[in-house]
Amino acid sequence: MFVLGAGGHGFNGGDIAFQLLMFLLLMFLLRKYAFGPLMGVMKQREEHIANEIEQAEKHHQEAKKLAEEQRELMKKSRQEAQALIEEARKLGEEQKEQIIQAARAEAERLKEVAKQEIAQEKEQAMAALRQQVASLSVLIASKVIEKELSEQDQAKLISEYIQEVGER
């Protein structure tokens, strides 16, 4: 050692002891006042970051799930709406059919009633006419061919006449 340029007489034990002591003291002080707290903060940050990443991943997963659910829901509601519209249309069609049917039936019925009434009226008219024609023709005949006909001939004539009217 002495050859190497440090120079000196005797054993440099003091330097050795001092250097060793100072270095260990320095290391101890640094650990206690500087590096210890710093390492604590670094570790804390590491944990914090890891935590945040985990949290973010979880949130991302949740959001994904929610979106999937939403999409599913949307699809479902769209299908439901489609079904509702379809049903309504079918119902409307049915109702339309029913209304038409009812209207047709009503019309048929009215027609029937009218026909019957007409027939009845015709019958009545016929009866009234028959009576009136009879008396009228008697009146006319008696006026036109007074005395030329007997009562019997007259009746026969009238009946023939009426027959003719009925046939017509």
């Binding site: 003091g14 250097q19 100072m22 590096f35």
Partner: protein, 236 residues
């Protein structure tokens, strides 16, 4: 270019007062830097805290390149202290040297082999201590006869060679730098012309010395971790 050292005798031990002073100054500077950097610790680091965290991560990288973090984590404080202490020590001798009555007072403490060899011996001693502590006496002893028993003498020599090279490499680099700086400043810069001529090489050499000082601090820490891992790792 050779100055006397201010020696002082106490309890039968010789103290080089220049070394004592420079060791104290270096330790104080390192401590103040570290203390200032960690005054306002926060989760979002700023300024000095960033710098110190970078140093810590840098040392963490050195350790991780030698052993797994599980075993190496406990050496981080040692590594950071070493690298900061040696770097500051290397830098201290660069701007000037103070000589009083032909006694050299201000210099890099690492320009003295006693200092560097003390550090090296401490590191190797620590590696032995942790070797025994973590692998047990048996595992530690097996390290000397593996992979082949006849390597035992070489292993013993290796321990001393490691210590010597670790200390002397640092000392040699820094001492050489200071010698050349001293030559440039003291011998060449005599008179006006000499001073002008000396300016450029002095600047260049100081820049190079900064580089060397940083590199040596890194190498010392790196080799510390290499020797540590040889002693404490199982798969070597």
């Amino acid at each position: 270019m050779h100055h006397e050292a201010p020696l002082y005798e106490l309890f039968g031990l010789t103290f080089n007062l220049s070394n004592v002073m420079m060791i104290t100054v270096t330790s104080a500077i390192v401590f103040v830097i570290a203390l200032l950097a960690t005054r306002n610790l926060s989760m979002k680091p700023t300024g000095m805290q960033n710098f110190l965290e970078w140093v810590m991560d840098f040392v963490k990288g050195i350790i991780k390149s030698n052993m797994d973090w599980q075993t190496g984590g406990r050496f981080q404080v040692l590594g950071v202290t070493l690298i900061m202490y040696i770097f500051v020590a290397n830098m201290l001798g660069l701007p000037f040297a103070v000589v009083i009555n032909d006694e050299l007072w201000w210099k890099s403490p690492t320009a003295d082999p006693v200092i560097t060899l003390t550090l090296a011996t401490m590191v190797v001693g620590l590696s032995h201590y942790y070797g025994i502590k973590m692998k047990g006496l048996k595992g530690y002893a097996e390290g000397f006869v593996s992979p082949m028993p006849f390597l035992f003498p070489l292993k013993i020599i290796e321990e001393f060679a490691n210590t010597l090279t670790l200390g002397l490499r640092l000392y040699g680099n820094i001492f050489a730098g200071e010698i050349l700086l001293g030559l440039l400043a003291g011998s060449l810069a005599t008179g006006f012309a000499g001073t002008v001529v000396a300016i450029i090489p002095t600047i260049v050499w100081q820049a190079f010395s900064i580089f060397v000082g940083a590199i040596q601090a890194f190498i010392f820490t790196m080799l510390t971790m290499v020797y540590m891992s040889h002693k404490v790792s199982h798969d070597h």
